[in-house]
Point group: C2
Chain length 177, copies 2
């Protein structure tokens, strides 16, 4: 798929999934897209646990009260950052940025391969959810699940919502000019 | 360009640029790719100042002591986040993640259009550099330049450095299994 088409088609999908499988080769291709995303000082800090074991998937499926994509996902990708990130440039670490860039690459790959997903972040941070899932996946205390991507074949047609206009968010040379 | 090719070709370019122009339509297309990136609760928090005014470009060109791409860029994109971001989901804001996802989309667009760039972040945060550039661009105190992208036509052939292997960073179902 053309890069500009993939960026336009990618959208946060919270609808139902079909019974269509998410095969392991595609999951590898999606995560490989995350591995080649940029990272601060090329430190490649984000790690990934691909979840396609039926019992673990079923356990995670039960956790979200509303989001159908979370309830019906056939696979998940858990994206891990350090619990206490080390500086890589002067006093700064970039693990959050690294993880976000990797996730965007993966969302584009998911779109290009005919699957759908939604970036799950804030929900994980409440009620110990990230820690519960981390325990299922044997994630050590030194790592946190920062972002979770539920993956499946979308049952509904949907598209990217309208975005604010270029003029509202972008300027040439002087802010708000 | 195919999405997987663009992700593979994108790399941090710190080399010299040719005198080739970076035209305004391409800059709009690049920033439009940033506008359609995902953002927490679709809040679309990142704003962009595209710098192609020759005098301002020349001022920024002088700031970096080492990075040729920064010294020779024909244009820049300054990516703005809130100085004091408001929560959009429970107590959380996602402006850093929003900005990083937008930057990754833009880097892929830059690659597909035949330009090159490098994600400038930590350098901006030191010695008041972000604030100096913000002043040139009339950015208000409520916004911070979080990421800067120098853009030009690369004079050198270069490519993405080798990355850690899949096995080193990715696992199926159990961490480190």
């Amino acid at each position: 798929m053309d890069i500009f088409e993939a960026m336009q088609k990618r959208h946060s999908y919270r609808g139902p999934f079909t019974n269509g499988p998410v095969n392991a080769d595609d999951l590898k291709k999606i995560v490989s897209s995350g591995l080649i995303a940029p990272s601060g000082c090329n430190a490649q800090t984000t790690e990934f646990v691909i979840v396609d074991d039926k019992e673990i998937v079923a356990q995670i499926n039960k956790m979200h009260e509303l989001n159908k994509a979370m309830q019906q996902a056939r696979a998940y990708i858990a994206c891990l950052v350090g619990t206490d990130p080390k500086p890589v440039y002067q006093e700064f670490s970039f693990e959050v940025e690294d993880c976000a860039a990797a996730v965007e690459n993966m969302l584009l790959a998911i779109t290009a391969l005919g699957y759908a997903s939604v970036w799950i972040d804030g929900w994980l941070r409440r009620e110990g959810r990230a820690a519960s899932i981390a325990e299922m996946l044997n994630v050590p205390d030194t790592k946190t699940i920062r972002i979770l991507l539920p993956i499946g074949v979308p049952a509904d047609q949907s598209k990217q919502p309208d975005k604010k206009s270029f003029q509202e968010r972008a300027f040439f040379n002087k802010y708000n000019a």
